[in-house]
Structure formats: C-alpha cells, structure tokens
C-alpha cells in the first residue's frame, strides 16, 4: 500500500516536472510599502485593475522549506488606484503581510465559485466553506462585481413570490424579480420575516421553487448558527445557500458578502430559474464600507459615509431582475434588510435604500411590543410592483383589507378620546380588531397561499364576525386544519388555479358554515 502511494507521488512529480514551463515570464509586481488596519499600500503594480485580486507572495523573503510550510495563498483586493501606488484590502490574516513583501498581479477580477454544489452549504464572503462539510468542487466562477442587466434584457414582474406571511402576501405582495426592503428597529422581527419567506418556498412546487440565498452581514455567529439550524430543521437548507460575514470578520469581507451572494444568485437566474436573496443587513454593510473607505483615505461625506455609498447599494440591488424569455426568464428577488434607530426612516442609509427598492415592509416596535406579530406597519408598508404579480385569489380576498385596516388604526387612535361611538363606528372597530387578530402569525410557520386566501376570505366576508377577537387566532388555526383535512380538493384547486372560482367560492361558503356549526363554542352565542 505504502509502495503504491510512493509510486503515485513519484508519477505525479514526474508529470509536474514534464509539464513545467521553464520559459521566463515577466509578471506585474509591486512591493508593500505600508500595511495597517487590513489595508496595504503597494508600490508598483502599474497595470492593476480595480477589484483585481493580487497575491501577497510571502515566499519571496523565505527559504524554499519555509515557503513550503507557509499557510495557503493570501489575496488582496485592489480598491484604490493612485498615481504611483495602489491600495488593496487584505482578504485574510493581515498579520501575514509585511513591509517590502512582493505583491503579484493575478489579472483576475475577484470571483466566487457558483453552482449547484453550493446548495445546502454555509460559506464565507469568498464562497469558501465554513461548515466543515469539505471543499466545494465548483467549475464555474462568477465575478462578484458585474453590470446589472439592461432595460431590454428585463421584463415586468408578473409572478408572485409568496412569503407565507398573511399580512405580506395579502397587503404588500412581492413579485419574482422585485426588490422589497424590510425595515425596522432592532428586535422587530426583520430576520424572522426573511427566514419565513425562505422556509415557505418549501410549499412551492419543486420545478418553480426559488433557490434561496441568505447573506448574514455583521451578525453574531450564534445568530447565524441558529438560523442555519432552523433552516435545516424545516428542510429548507436543501435549496438554500448561507453566506456569512460575521461581526468578527474584517470589514472588506462584510462589504463583499452581499456582492458574492448576488453573483451566486445570478448563476441561478442566468440558468432560467428563480432565486431569492436576503441581505441581512445592508446597514451593517454600509458601516463596513465606511470603515474601509476611511482606511483608504477616501473623502468622508454625510455621517462620514463615502460619497459613493448610494452607488454601493444601487448597483447591488439593481442586479435583482426578472429576465425576459429570450434570456431564459429567470429572476432574482432581493429582500434587503435595514435596521433603523428609534424608528427613524429618514436617516441617511434608510432613505437611500427606500428610494432604490420597489417598496418596503415597515416593522413597528410598538406593534411588536403589543404582541402583534408580524409587527407590520400597514400604513408605511408598500409594494410598488407586487400587486401585478399577486394571484387572483389573493387579490379578490385581500383587496379591501389594506384600506379597512388603515381606517381601523385611525379610529383606534380616535377611540382613546371619544366616549360615545355610533354603531357603524363600533362595527368598524370590531371588524378591524378581528382582522388584526387574523393577521397574527407565529414565526417559523409560513402558510401556503391557498390556505391564506381561504382564511382571509372568511375574515373579510363576515364569516368570523361572530367570533370574539380573542378567539380569532384559535379559530383561524382550527379553520386551516379543517380546510386541509376536510377539504383538500378545494385547497388543491385554489393552489392550481391560483384563483377563487365561483365553484370554489361556493364550496368554501358551505365549508365555512359547517365549520361554524362544529365550533359553536368559539363563536358568540348571540
């Protein structure tokens, strides 16, 4: 056995020696003149390109033996091209870079491996595995920076991407290829919405199920581990890639992670499939980019962010698209997340991203504290293109809901001061309360859209008017179970037709009557 191994090694060495190119080749090189805070200034490299990877050659000052024992290759990323030098961020252990070290040009723009091999894996910002499941043998590499598709390459968003969250799918619908911002204070459930949306894709047929990419930027590693575990337990990891650039990662990796995610997502979009990417969160990426820019001595602007902070986010989010049929009809839907401070959506980064995206789901800390989860502020949430992608079934049942809830919120505030209310107002308030209760949903339990539309139908068409508000959550849960168990054909028809036909509506009405009869104890007796 040992002899076989040594023979293999000898054969391999012979082959390497035979193939060795001994012709002298001129390489573009530079010398590190200063290094600090993860940024190296390199003299030379006259032909370096922006975003080019350079190789720090720590073997130049070492003997052959020492060089053979040194760790893996250490790369840098060119971010500043100056008159006599370049500035590069070090993508790894900066302590390995020393003054006068040789830096070689690679001629490669920073690329990451893409492909099916990444599914189910947890990788870092350079798409290197961090889950201990072995190397990723991918044959294709995509540049992390790429021009977004042009207007002519796209088509309008017309296919829904269901999140499994009633409040979103009914009132702030998202279409495949859309960019919908999730915005809110800390601990208001932003990540939960994104993760539920990923888990809900399990309810989609396999052939049209979007591939999901979750990019964790500047998050605690424990949080990312918890999310991965949740995705694994719900069976969502099989169609998901997790990219992590934790809070402990150097700023360049936190800045690059979303771009790496976009490159991976584009692979699936280019192959005619749908993909969903969650950037959690872009506020932290902006902070990392600010740190990087200040270290690169770029002039600071508002709140010390560099002047191109808007372009950073716009060029990233512009890569989300719905391609035309000629290009395969694939799509990349982006759900960027932004964390606000004390609900201030008018701060610099939130306003930037609000203006780039096609709508936002605003989360309100006061609703969250009242126990209304998901804590979606209906008044401030909007989807600019999603309604054209909404299914007919959902459009039919959820059309009036938004207005009704907005009116309820207004009346609710007024009610705190008013003593006597007329019957119509009281009725509207009761209905609003029931609707609010109906939209409550536990995290990690996304609901297929057909079931959502059926229960919302019951809510908006008066079938739950006799249920006290405090029983609504229980009734809704029971109703879903009842429809799934007793009327699977109805659910299947709505799922297939994506609409509530007259026949289905009739069947549903009958089913609701039977359900009310069977659950009299949960309804009021009057």
């Amino acid at each position: 056995m040992a002899k076989d191994n040594s023979n293999t090694i000898i054969e391999r060495l012979k082959a390497e020696i035979a193939n060795l190119d001994t012709a002298p080749v001129a390489q573009d090189v530079g010398r590190v003149v200063s290094v600090g805070d993860g940024v190296a200034e390199i003299d030379g490299l006259g032909e370096a390109k922006m975003m080019e990877m350079i190789l720090f050659d720590d073997s130049s000052n070492k003997s052959l033996e020492e060089a053979m024992q040194s760790e893996g290759a250490l790369y840098g990323l060119v971010l500043n091209l100056e008159e006599d030098s370049v500035k590069a961020v070090i993508l790894g252990d900066a302590s390995r870079v020393a003054e006068d070290m040789l830096a070689r040009s690679t001629g490669r723009i920073l690329s990451v491996p893409v492909g099916e091999e990444l599914l189910g894996r947890v990788v870092n910002a350079l798409a290197e595995p961090v889950d201990g499941k072995g190397v990723i043998k991918s044959e294709q590499y995509n540049p992390i920076e790429r021009d977004a598709y042009s207007v002519l390459d796209r088509q309008s968003v017309d296919e829904p991407l269901h999140t499994g969250i009633k409040a979103i799918d009914a009132m702030v619908p998202i279409g495949r290829g859309q960019r919908e911002l999730i915005i809110g204070d800390r601990f208001t459930g932003k990540t939960t919405i994104a993760i539920d949306a990923i888990i809900n894709q399990k309810n989609e047929p396999k052939e049209t199920r979007p591939i999901c990419i979750y990019v964790a930027i500047g998050q605690k590693e424990s949080k990312t581990a918890r999310i991965v575990q949740q995705l694994e337990e719900s069976g969502a990891m099989e169609y998901t890639v997790v990219i992590t650039a934790p809070a402990s990662a150097p700023a360049p990796l936190q800045f690059l992670a979303p771009f790496a995610g976009a490159a991976i997502g584009e692979y699936f979009m280019d192959s005619g499939r749908d993909a969903l990417i969650v950037y959690d969160d872009l506020s932290k990426q902006a902070v990392a980019y600010r740190e990087l820019s200040l270290l690169l001595r770029r002039p600071p602007g508002r709140e010390a962010y560099p002047g191109d902070i808007f372009y950073l986010h716009s060029r990233l989010l512009e890569r989300a698209a719905k391609l035309n049929d000629k290009l395969g009809g694939g799509s990349l839907t982006a759900l960027p997340i932004i964390e606000t401070q004390e609900g201030d959506v008018s701060a610099y980064i939130p306003t930037n991203v609000i203006s780039i995206t096609d709508g936002q789901i605003a989360l309100d800390a006061s609703l969250f504290n009242k126990g209304l989860m998901p804590a979606i502020d209906v008044g401030n949430s909007v989807s600019r293109v999603g309604s054209s992608a909404q299914t007919k079934a959902m459009k039919k049942v959820g059309g009036s809901m938004r207005v009704e809830l907005a009116q309820f919120r207004e009346l609710e505030a007024f009610m705190q001061f008013a003593q006597d209310l007329d019957e119509a107002t009281k009725k509207r308030i009761d209905s609003g309360r029931r609707l609010t209760e109906l939209l409550k949903q536990k995290n990690g339990e996304p609901i297929p859209f057909a079931l959502q539309s059926l229960v919302i139908y019951a809510g908006v068409n008066g079938y739950l008017d006799k249920v006290p508000a405090e029983n609504i959550v229980k009734v809704e849960r029971k109703l879903r179970a009842f429809l799934t168990d007793q009327h699977p054909a109805l659910v299947a028809t709505v799922t297939k037709e994506k609409a509530l036909s007259e026949k289905s509506e009739k069947e549903l009405k009958e089913a609701l009557k039977v359900f009310a009869e069977a659950n009299k104890d949960l309804y009021t007796t009057e």
Binding site: L13, L20, T22, P24, A26, Q27, V29, D43, S63
Partner: protein, 121 residues
C-alpha cells in the same frame, strides 16, 4: 494638506532644475504662511520615500551565487553594470526586478511551483 503633494511638488521643481536651497526655503515659507510648519518632518519623509521609489525603477538581478551573476546578466539582457544581489535561498537561476515587472527564473520558484501543483487537492 497632504505631505505627499508637497513632496511631489518639490521633486518636480528639482527635476526642472530649480535651486535646492530655494526649493527648501520656499517650502518652509509656504508652510509658515499656512501655519502648518509641523508638517515639515512628514513632507521630508514623503520626499525621501518618493526618491527611494524612483530609484527602484533601476533593474536589480538576484542570483544564488556570485559566480552566476555574469550568466544571469547575459540571459536577462540587462546592461552589464546592473546591480546584482546574492541570495542563497534562490538555490539557482536568476530573478530580475525592474519598474514593477518581475522575471522569476529561480530554481526556488520552479520547485515551489512543482510542490504546490503536486500537493493541490
């Protein structure tokens, strides 16, 4: 103001043939007028670095043994008075570096290449 900008200005004036004393006096007066005399050491350091960078444009040949120098100069096609550095770690061959270009034709580089290719997973 950036010390590098002063250093570059000094270098270009020097290249244009201006008197060195005049350049230094002009620099000090200018810094005084701006209340930035504290920048002077940084400007001089930047100037020294700039001069060092410009001198790195000259070719340098590195060999493992001094006996290899003549052959290395011939092979690399550089002038015979080119600076030669002896570095035993190169094992054999030569390395030529000039103005941001490197020709690494050393045995060490080739052996390292064979080792890395052979041990690649």
């Amino acid at each position: 103001m950036n010390p590098n900008a002063y250093a570059k200005a000094m270098l270009s004036l020097s290249k244009e043939g201006h008197n060195t004393d005049g350049i230094v006096k002009g620099l000090i007066n200018s810094l005084k007028a701006r209340g930035a005399l504290a920048l002077l050491p940084n400007v001089l350091r930047a100037y020294t670095n700039l001069i060092a960078r410009k001198s790195s444009d000259k070719p340098v040949v590195a060999v493992a043994r001094s006996a290899d120098a003549k052959e290395a100069i011939e092979q690399s096609g550089v002038p015979s008075d080119t600076e030669v550095v002896v570095d035993e770690r190169l094992i054999g061959g030569y390395r030529l570096e000039q103005g941001g270009k490197l020709i690494d034709n050393t045995f060490k580089a080739k052996l390292l290449q064979i080792y890395r290719n052979a041990t690649k997973a």
